[in-house]
Symmetry: C2
Subunit: 98 residues, 2 copies
Amino acid sequence: MFGYLNAIKTRPGHREEVVAILLGAVEGLGEVGCRQYTVAVDPDDEVTIRVTEVWESEEAHRASLELPETKAAIARAMPLLSGEFETAATEVRGGLGL
Amino acid sequence: MFGYLNAIKTRPGHREEVVAILLGAVEGLGEVGCRQYTVAVDPDDEVTIRVTEVWESEEAHRASLELPETKAAIARAMPLLSGEFETAATEVRGGLGL
């Protein structure tokens, strides 16, 4: 399994809107090989979103980016982001429910 | 829901042993309010473990630290760690399966 740890910064005042967009696109992910897609926010600022993902394979993750609902969510969120984005890939060994 | 993002460094040569200890203690966590407990490793080094957690409440997380199996796992893992440990708390808004 493959994981991604992402830190996404929004423009001030737009974090809740981006959280809602991300959560609105979650439903279909389970059908394309996503095991976890978790959306959290930093308590210490008002602009950072942390998305942690677990995928069956790198191919499943790549394929998810081609889904119409994923593309639509990215298009809606993009203007609300600051442009600061960090991502790190991991090798997931297991865990509760995995 | 509350989240924790942890980066734990092991002593060289002991990462797999610590991963096994962490995964061995996962079973009981679901019964005490843990929603996700995911163990991953960094592909770019041989000592970093990333544990991402989601809990129903901060109280549930604190209570889990008092479980005999948690205490035993911590005692077994401790001598294998380098001492470098980073943790960040998050507010979890939702996600796949949450």
